[in-house]
């Protein structure tokens, strides 16, 4: 069998070592769960494409990360998410941007990849495509977390944009 490799990231930035132990444990637990989901697929002979989708979905479902549930807020208190996926075997790719209300944007990107006529859908058109393909649609409340909302209030108060996770961390997208 060929060598199997899976790498994941959960965001980069100026992460302070003074942050709480509990917070790091939460992040690391989420990373391990993501890695485990993809590892299982690869070890069972599944495709790299399925593995990366599975790993990203786990992090989208985890409010610790800035994707899916737990995504940061726009200025007008919405969640607009972007996702992309590419298959190295076929070079097929799918991307979505400005997506709200789609529970797992990465699954929508995969649907776009499978839809041969287009490779990039945005905004309302992407949402409509998600509904047509039976993906889970949720209220904006699903994505909201107290941490993210407080980050928005702070950023708006200071009239600046902030890059992912805690503003104090200056952690990036």
């Amino acid at each position: 069998m060929n060598k199997l490799v899976l790498l994941i990231h959960g965001g980069a930035g100026n992460i302070k070592k003074s942050d709480s132990e509990e917070k790091f444990k939460r992040h690391l637990k989420g990373l391990k769960a993501s890695l485990e989901a993809g590892r299982k697929i690869l070890e069972e002979g599944g495709t790299a494409l399925d593995a990366v989708i599975a790993s990203v979905k786990v992090m989208e479902d985890d409010p610790s990360f800035n994707a899916g549930k737990g995504s940061v807020f726009t200025h007008n208190e919405k969640n607009e998410m972007d996702a992309a996926v590419m298959d190295g075997k076929t070079l097929n790719n799918g991307a979505v941007s400005g997506v709200s209300n789609v529970k797992n944007p990465i699954l929508l990107a995969k649907k776009v990849l499978e839809y041969k006529d287009h490779s990039f859908l945005a905004n309302e058109g992407a949402l409509e495509f998600a509904k047509e393909n039976g993906l889970d649609i949720v209220d904006n409340e699903y994505f909201k977390t107290e941490v993210r909302y407080n980050q928005l209030l702070k950023a708006r108060g200071e009239k600046k944009i902030a890059l992912d996770h805690d503003i104090d961390e200056e952690k990036y997208g």
Partner: protein
């Protein structure tokens, strides 16, 4: 931003990236960095890449595809091609990326002080890191 790249038992590569973007961003802003070629790219001939950081920078420098192109046309290693982007093309604190090539060589460079990341390799590695 979250992302993953993988090499499977058939030698196939894939990349995926997903993000909420930047807090307090204008509605309609796209980035950080799930755009094919900028922050996400995969080609069985070269590598699979997923990026995280300031999307505008990754878009401007077409980072994900640049790494694949360096491997394909210049014969650079996955480490050299990715470090060239992280250290010399992007600005300090712009972010980081993960990349694996068709041989299973990989690199996870970043130019911020930390990047949440994880590595699984069938030769016995299963690890998560921050700094």
């Amino acid at each position: 931003t979250v992302g993953a790249v993988a090499l499977d038992s058939h030698g196939n590569l894939a990349a995926a990236t997903s993000t909420g973007g930047i807090t307090n961003k204008r509605y309609g802003r796209v980035g950080d960095t799930p755009i094919i070629g900028s922050g996400t790219y995969a080609d069985n001939e070269t590598c699979a890449v997923s990026c995280t950081g300031i999307g505008e920078q990754f878009i401007k420098f077409n980072v994900a595809y640049d790494i694949a192109a360096r491997i394909k046309y210049k014969g650079e290693s996955v480490e050299k091609a990715s470090l060239e982007n992280i250290e010399n093309r992007l600005n300090k604190d712009d972010g980081g990326l993960i990349v694996v090539d068709k041989y299973g060589n990989y690199s996870l460079p970043f130019n911020s002080n930390g990047m949440y990341r994880g590595i699984y390799c069938s030769d016995g590695v299963f690890d998560v890191k921050v700094w």
